[in-house]
Symmetry: C2
Subunit: 221 residues, 2 copies
């Protein structure tokens, strides 16, 4: 009984060290010998609590996703409270969609996207590790991981249903994923210096522009 506890502690220590190293150097900062030294154990000990270094990276990534989820939830809820008393607007008779509801849905999408952008900007390396990490040919992500990703899309689906009320759930899910991907693309290439850096303020503005236009275009049809 003692050993499992000790191993749990070691695993925790390793995850913390791995997180620190990713923050400092990105995925390249994950090295067995370094982690062992930082955790105060032998190199071989790592493989007592973890199958791979990949598993360690996945553990870090899972926590990063949880952090992100929490922040998105906070951003979404902060809004929900602020809107109490806004009142049920007058339904537009032709489209069946309330104008102010549409505006609010777009605003919600923008809030979520800006939150995502800020998270990515604040925890760049840890966040990029999620997308840079590739499992060795053949192995696939654990279920929990995919589950967490669906959670993220759920945030988007809610306001999306206001814009496109008639959409089948399947299509709605796909569109949510697409919107996420678009914002993700803007974020990841924006924070990258490969194409020449863009300021955070500019990125915010671009995201607002794109999502607002998208909201207008999507709610019109």
């Amino acid at each position: 009984m003692k050993t499992s506890e000790r191993r749990q502690n070691l695993k925790e220590t390793l995850i913390v060290a791995a997180t620190r190293n990713i923050d400092a150097l990105g995925l390249a900062g994950i090295k067995a010998r370094d982690l062992a030294a930082e955790a105060g154990c032998a190199v071989g000990a790592i493989y007592n609590v973890v199958a791979d270094l990949d598993e360690l990276v996945l553990a870090v990534n899972a926590r990063t996703l949880t952090m992100l989820e929490d922040e998105l939830k906070a951003a979404a809820d902060a809004n929900a409270n602020a809107d109490v008393g806004e009142g049920a607007g007058i339904a537009s008779s032709q489209t069946g969609v309330d104008k102010s509801q549409v505006d609010e849905a777009v605003a919600q999408l923008v809030r979520l996207a800006i939150c995502y952008l800020h998270f990515a900007a604040k925890h760049t390396r840890r966040w990029r590790a999620i997308f840079e990490h590739n499992l060795p040919e053949g192995r696939q992500l654990p279920d929990q991981y995919q589950e967490q990703q669906r959670h993220l899309f759920a945030f988007i689906e809610e306001p999306l249903r206001v814009l496109q009320p008639g959409l089948a759930p399947e299509q709605s899910e796909l569109l949510a994923r697409t919107l996420f991907s678009a914002v993700h693309g803007i974020t990841i290439l924006g924070l990258e210096e490969k194409l020449g850096a863009v300021s955070l303020a500019d990125l915010e503005q671009q995201i607002i522009t794109v999502l607002t236009a998208l909201g207008a275009g999507l709610s019109v049809r």
Copy 2:
């Protein structure tokens, strides 16, 4: 004079081999000893014609970008020809923007994006290598590389000017980059199996939906 020619040949052979290996295994397929064997030279010989393996990857990526540029150019030109005789539509008096011109600009954006998607789908590994490859801390991309990227954005800027005639060149450039990033995000996450695969047909439809909505939203304001 003979040696420089020989080296040029070796470099070419290595680039070809590197391209083949990236197609087969992604960036992980780039290994000094394998490349040397395939090119029929000693491992050390590689470093006579190239500073790094990174330089080799960059050479492959540059060619990939050229391929992409050619295909985009073909897609853009095919359209220009098809539109001859379409006629100058009636200018909308209020916005100063011709309705059919707007439609055509959106159609052009869609064509470019679909072309990008197809290129990415057809040459997935080679295309992903462009974005997966990271230079070692500090070194930056050669000028030619950044130049090629600006070329890509130029394709987008042209139809974009129809949608937003009043936009300052600086802002237009930024928006073009943003649109590219959005389409890129949809493409790269769509082709990735990490979030569960999406069919190419679905991806096409999503890109059409998003760009059409974006075009509508952008031209309205």
